[in-house]
């Protein structure tokens, strides 16, 4: 697994993928937080990073599929999947190697945003007037959300040897899992099941963690969500054997 992880990270760093993705993420976040009028913190006047954590999931929804789309699609297209699958490593090791490479990249993208936290910390009308617990919770939530999106992206890329197809499928699935369930439940069609539907969506759990309370239910939700998509990916990869 480690060797695949190393290879994927090397691919990210040797091509422009990592730099562009992280760069775009930081630029977009910077624009929303400090410059664009509706969301900018300076006009908003409260020392909180809420707008970062509200916008980041939507940016991730576009950027994460862009980095995960090549994982299996490219290998399938170039036939290099045959090279990997005929080595003494299991399919699961291949998947996990790629998955953690994606998670690491998300982590790299998030780390520089800590500077925003420091800025707000200093800008508070009494220095340090910010709910640090909530910020830490939100970061954990955002990382879990990113990890969940990576899992979805890995799965989507195993579906097709065409990167664009994988990209679009991943965006759709991410969107649906993030906001789709909630929107369906707001139609109030299913009575009691509506509440359950909300709980199926990522957003409910993301918001819950963002409050700064690390509830095991939410953590279990994210871990199960990720496991589900990893298992689905494994099933798709093994379908060559059917």
């Amino acid at each position: 697994m480690y060797i695949i992880l190393k290879k994927e990270i090397a691919v990210f760093l040797n091509s422009l993928i990592a730099y562009i993705t992280i760069g775009v993420f930081l630029i977009v976040m910077g624009l929303f937080l400090w410059i664009f009028p509706d969301t900018n913190l300076l006009d908003y006047g409260y020392a909180s990073l809420d707008s970062l954590f509200n916008i980041a999931p939507w940016v991730f929804m576009l950027l994460i599929p862009a980095i995960t789309m090549r994982f299996f699609s490219e290998e399938k297209k170039a036939g290099t999947i045959e090279l990997l699958a005929t080595r003494p490593i299991t399919d699961l090791q291949i998947i996990m190697g790629k998955y953690f490479a994606g998670v690491l990249l998300v982590l790299f993208a998030l780390i520089p945003t800590i500077i925003y936290y420091i800025t707000i910390y200093q800008l508070g009308s009494t220095v340090g007037n910010i709910d640090t617990g909530s910020v830490i919770g939100s970061y954990i939530g955002l990382l879990l959300l990113g990890s969940a999106f990576v899992a979805v992206g890995v799965f989507a890329s195993s579906l097709s040897d065409n990167q664009i197809v994988s990209f679009v499928i991943a965006i759709f699935l991410c969107f649906f899992c993030y906001a789709g369930f909630e929107s369906i439940s707001s139609l109030q069609l299913f009575g009691k099941i509506d509440n359950f539907l909300v709980q199926l969506g990522i957003n409910a759990h993301y918001l819950s963690i963002s409050r700064g309370v690390l509830d095991t239910r939410d953590v279990v939700y994210f871990l199960s969500f990720i496991s589900l998509f990893i298992v689905l990916t494994k099933t798709v990869l093994e379908s060559r054997k059917w």
């Binding site: 060797i3 695949i4 190393k6 290879k7 090397a10 691919v11 040797n14 091509s15 170039a78 036939g79 290099t80 045959e82 090279l83 990997l84 699958a85 005929t86 080595r87 003494p88 490593i89 299991t90 060559r240 054997k241």
Partner: protein, 303 residues
């Protein structure tokens, strides 16, 4: 026995790609795996390398079953797939390092990589990106990665495609040398290669095994005719040529060049020469036509 294939079948949908074939490959002998396009060669190789499973029958490599002990099989196999897939944005050494990592080669990695680069003649190209290499050099990288972890069994799917004549000779020599201690299975379309390299030949056609013999046995099996390609300076009558003793058939190849065939035992060159003298013809050239494995291959696989 390091590779044993027993009544192996593979069915894709309704099409039988491989139909109950059995053969064995032993260390020290190079097995040539022949067949026309779509005969099931690559499918068999993919089964042996655990990329896809068979539909029925079984196969084992070094005593490990390809389904049950898949990981052990993969440890003992070096595989060069047909299309020679490579990570083209990697450097040659980086790529070989990656392959070594998957085999957990540890400390010996560096030495082995140097050795493989040297053996496959990649020394001058070793610092290049794979995307910058020509097809022949990429093929060498493919061979290098297949041999890198010093596997007991080498499975090479058309290893010499894209090589120039010099490289061809080098790589064949390399394969031949490897075949002295390892089990090598190679597929190819080039009959000269089979004659030059392989000790044993397995021919399959439409998924069915049609030959499984030592190369020499197969070569000596050919029956029928021996051909001579003869060129005269003037036009000759076909019936006249048929009149030569020992000649069974005469066919015009082009201009005054004829293909004369005799039964395999008699060498009719003396008679042909005398015929030319008697008819005041000048014999511009006379050469024995190798009726080689190609003929046998065609006989076995055309229907």
């Amino acid at each position: 026995m390091s590779v044993i294939v027993n009544h192996l079948s593979k069915i894709y949908g309704t099409q039988k790609a491989v139909d109950s074939i059995s053969f064995e490959a032993v260390p020290g002998k190079i097995l040539g795996f022949l067949g026309p396009n779509g005969a099931g060669k690559s499918t068999t190789m993919k089964i042996l390398t655990c990329f896809i499973p068979q539909s029925s029958g079984d196969a084992s490599v070094c005593g490990f079953d390809v389904i049950k002990d898949s990981l052990s099989v993969r440890k003992n196999i070096g595989y060069l797939p047909e299309s020679n897939p490579l990570y083209t944005d990697m450097y040659v050494k980086e790529y070989l390092n990656f392959i070594a990592g998957m085999h957990k080669m540890g400390k010996e990695t560096k030495l082995r990589i140097e050795e493989m680069i040297d053996k496959t003649g990649l020394v001058r190209e070793q610092h290049k990106k794979i995307s910058q290499l020509s097809k022949g050099y990429r093929q060498r990288v493919g061979l290098a990665q297949a041999m890198l972890h010093n596997p007991k069994v080498l499975i090479l799917d058309e290893p010499t495609t894209g090589l120039d004549p010099n490289q061809l000779v080098e790589i064949r020599a390399l394969i031949k040398q490897l075949g002295k201690e390892k089990t090598v299975i190679l597929s190819t379309h080039i009959m000269q290669e089979v004659e030059a390299v392989c000790d044993r030949i397995v021919i399959i056609n439409k998924g069915i095994l049609v030959a499984n013999e030592d190369t020499k046995v197969l070569q000596s099996k050919k029956e029928g005719t021996l051909g001579f390609k003869v060129e005269f300076d003037k036009a000759v009558n076909q019936n006249q040529l048929k009149g030569i003793r020992g000649i069974l058939q005469a066919s015009n190849l082009q201009g005054n060049t004829w293909l004369l065939s005799t039964d395999s035992k008699s060498d009719a060159r003396t008679e042909i020469f005398q015929f030319a003298v008697q008819n005041q013809l000048v014999l511009l050239s006379i050469s024995k036509e190798e009726q080689s494995l190609e003929t046998i291959f065609r006989q076995l696989t055309s229907n």
